[in-house]
């Protein structure tokens, strides 16, 4: 009994979050809200993977929309053109995404800082352009429609509630395994190579291999999310996989709080809820959004996760403590 209680206590955050996420559809019948919740789930999957790459391993990707696009288009093309089983299509697309990540990752992850950012950006743009230009395969800007819903053992996952549970079920699995990674040999090696590649290599870490591996994992997460998405909206077009989307993804990770897996949660929630509020501004939406990005980065460089720390620091300063408190972490926005 004591073991069960201590297990619950240790994993209370995860369990609590899982309960909330899975129970959410019971509180609303509104299809629109249910869709937003489900899309929060797919977005969350991509951000989780990106958080492993950017937050843990300290790399940068401004091209991650491309991997979601590979998953989306892979599923779309395989299921509509060749009537491949949607689950198999999802797996195959994820495999393709991992392969592309592996191939592009080897030369790209040798780069650092600005060069890495621009390299990933270039990659993302090339994928976008190919999606638009390879009309014989992708239908170009017209997009592909008629993508079937997912179903399994009689359950139709085209229905909002069922889809929500499917997506969030998978997302929660991804969250759990990401959390597991933190306190592990591989997880520590990623944190180490983020902080000092030279030191990590001197301790036996094959940093090149680890970086490419984590890129491949993040590509798989993104690809699966992309596949889920198109099986719900039954349509895909290149306009969803632009640089803007890649930047929004990177921003979500940073705003949530780099380096903390839970940052991916807060970031995803904020970045999906925010546009809903901003919708009322219509033409001004992007303007307000852009300004908000600026303000958040200036005033909260450590992301939402650091609000606790920032509040503590503020309290200490107000309380009149002299000198600097120990362990004031630098903003984690660096490379």
């Amino acid at each position: 009994m004591a073991a069960v209680l201590s297990f619950l206590k240790r994993h209370s955050a995860f369990i609590g979050f899982a309960v909330v996420a899975m129970a959410a559809p019971l509180f609303t019948q509104n299809i629109y809200y249910l869709s937003v919740l489900a899309f929060m789930g797919t977005r969350f999957m991509i951000v989780l993977g990106l958080n492993l790459l950017m937050g843990q391993a300290g790399q940068i990707s401004l091209g991650h929309a491309a991997f979601a696009g590979i998953g989306a288009y892979g599923s779309a093309i395989l299921t509509t053109r060749w009537e491949v089983n949607p689950w198999a299509a999802m797996a195959l697309s994820a495999l393709l995404a991992a392969t592309v990540a592996g191939v592009i990752g080897v030369p790209t992850l040798k780069l650092k800082g600005h060069y890495l950012a621009m390299g990933t950006l270039g990659f993302g743009e090339i994928v976008y352009i190919l999606l638009v230009q390879f009309k014989w395969l992708t239908n170009g800007t017209d997009g592909i429609s008629g993508i079937p819903s997912l179903s399994l053992a009689g359950i139709d996952f085209g229905k909002p509630q069922a889809f929500h549970w499917l997506v969030w079920g998978v997302a929660l699995i991804m969250l759990r395994i990401s959390l597991n990674l933190v306190d592990s040999r591989v997880g520590r090696s990623l944190k180490a190579l983020h902080r000092s590649e030279a030191a990590s290599m001197s301790l036996g870490v094959n940093t090149a291999y680890r970086k490419v591996q984590v890129l491949m994992v993040s590509a798989v997460f993104a690809s699966i999310a992309g596949s889920f998405y198109v099986h719900y909206v039954h349509f895909v077009s290149p306009s969803s996989y632009t640089l803007t989307f890649s930047v929004i993804l990177a921003t979500t990770v940073v705003i949530g709080g780099l380096g903390r897996v839970w940052g991916a949660v807060w970031g995803s929630i904020l970045m999906m809820v925010l546009p809903e509020f901003l919708r009322q501004y219509q033409d001004y939406t992007n303007l307000v959004f852009g300004v908000m990005l600026i303000l958040i980065m200036i005033f909260l460089p450590g992301g939402i996760v650091s609000i606790g720390g920032a509040a503590d620091a503020l309290r200490r300063r107000i309380g009149g403590a002299s000198g600097r408190s120990g362990g004031d972490a630098a903003p984690e926005g660096g490379s």
Partner: protein, 296 residues
């Protein structure tokens, strides 16, 4: 491809290439002063063109409208630096990228609200009768673009090498700490760099508007190609930025010309990114070597 067609592509290539060069140059000035990659650089080009259009439509003579636009956007660059960049000088790369992207989005949307969604023209500086070179033609405006770009580049070189202020700016980009100890005001250098950067890019926008019109979305892709050009030439190297921009423009034009497939122009944008990736993988310091290469 006949020689005349080839020549035509070259002309078209150097025209757009000059704008890439000016964008890349503006971007390099800011990078040298602050180590920041300014994703909003393309918006200065866009603002230059649209501001000139507004001034002209308000009745100003063309020359006044153009020069006025350059000055106004130069000031806008300074304002941008004060509002968005100054708080970020010590932040990490990601924070800087996100802020400049946010700024780019905001500026672009504001432009859409102010000037609408349509692209608008400016009259060419000296008429639009094409000049014949063999069977190829070149627009007078193209000659203006090339000439002004050349003047700007030369003037910048003179500024850097012959004036005290210019040398101070160079000193800061090499070693800001030492420069400050010698009495150079770092914040003035940054201000100046942003003003010049915005003005130079705006000049590009003003000059290209008669050729290809100007709309609120023009700056987005331009900024990206400007980076590709700057990296091609060597990040932080002003001469490299110019050569990179021109080369990129020509390579793009030739690619469209050379590809035998229909709809080749859609692939034009891919050229810039392929070149970018190639350079990053093979020779990240660029053709001419930039500033210090990032090490671990």
């Amino acid at each position: 491809m006949t020689f005349d067609q080839f020549l035509q592509y070259i002309f078209s290539g150097i025209t757009t290439g000059s704008i890439y060069a000016l964008t890349a140059l503006g971007f390099t000035l800011i990078y040298n002063a602050t180590d920041i990659i300014n994703f909003a650089q393309g918006e200065f080009v866009m603002l230059g063109g649209l501001t000139a259009i507004s001034l002209y439509e308000a009745g100003a003579p063309l020359a006044v409208a153009c020069l006025g636009a350059v000055a106004i956007v130069g000031v806008a660059g300074i304002v941008f630096q004060q509002l968005a960049i100054r708080p970020l000088l010590k932040a990490g790369i990601l924070a800087q990228i996100i802020v400049t992207v946010g700024a780019s989005l905001a500026i672009r949307t504001a432009a859409m609200i102010i000037w609408g969604r349509e692209s608008r023209p400016l009259p060419p500086f000296t008429g639009d009768t094409p000049i014949k070179v063999g069977e190829a033609t070149i627009l007078p405006q193209t000659l203006w673009v090339l000439a002004v770009t050349l003047v700007i580049v030369v003037a910048l070189q003179l500024f850097y090498r012959r004036t005290l202020t210019g040398k101070a700016v160079r000193a800061c980009s090499v070693n800001s700490g030492a420069a400050r100890l010698m009495g150079v005001s770092y914040s003035w250098v940054v201000l100046l760099s942003f003003g010049m950067s915005a003005a130079i890019s705006a000049a590009g926008g003003v000059m290209i508007t008669p050729v290809s019109f100007m709309g609120y979305g023009y700056g987005a892709m331009l900024g990206l190609k400007g980076f590709a050009a700057a990296i091609l030439g060597g990040l932080g190297n002003p001469a490299g930025a110019v050569v990179g921009g021109l080369s990129l423009g020509v390579l793009e034009a030739l690619t469209i010309g050379a590809l035998p497939i229909e709809g080749a122009s859609g692939y034009k944008d891919a050229v810039a990114f392929l070149i970018l990736l190639l350079i990053l993988f093979a020779k990240p310091q660029g053709l001419f070597g930039g500033r210090a290469v990032e090490k671990v």
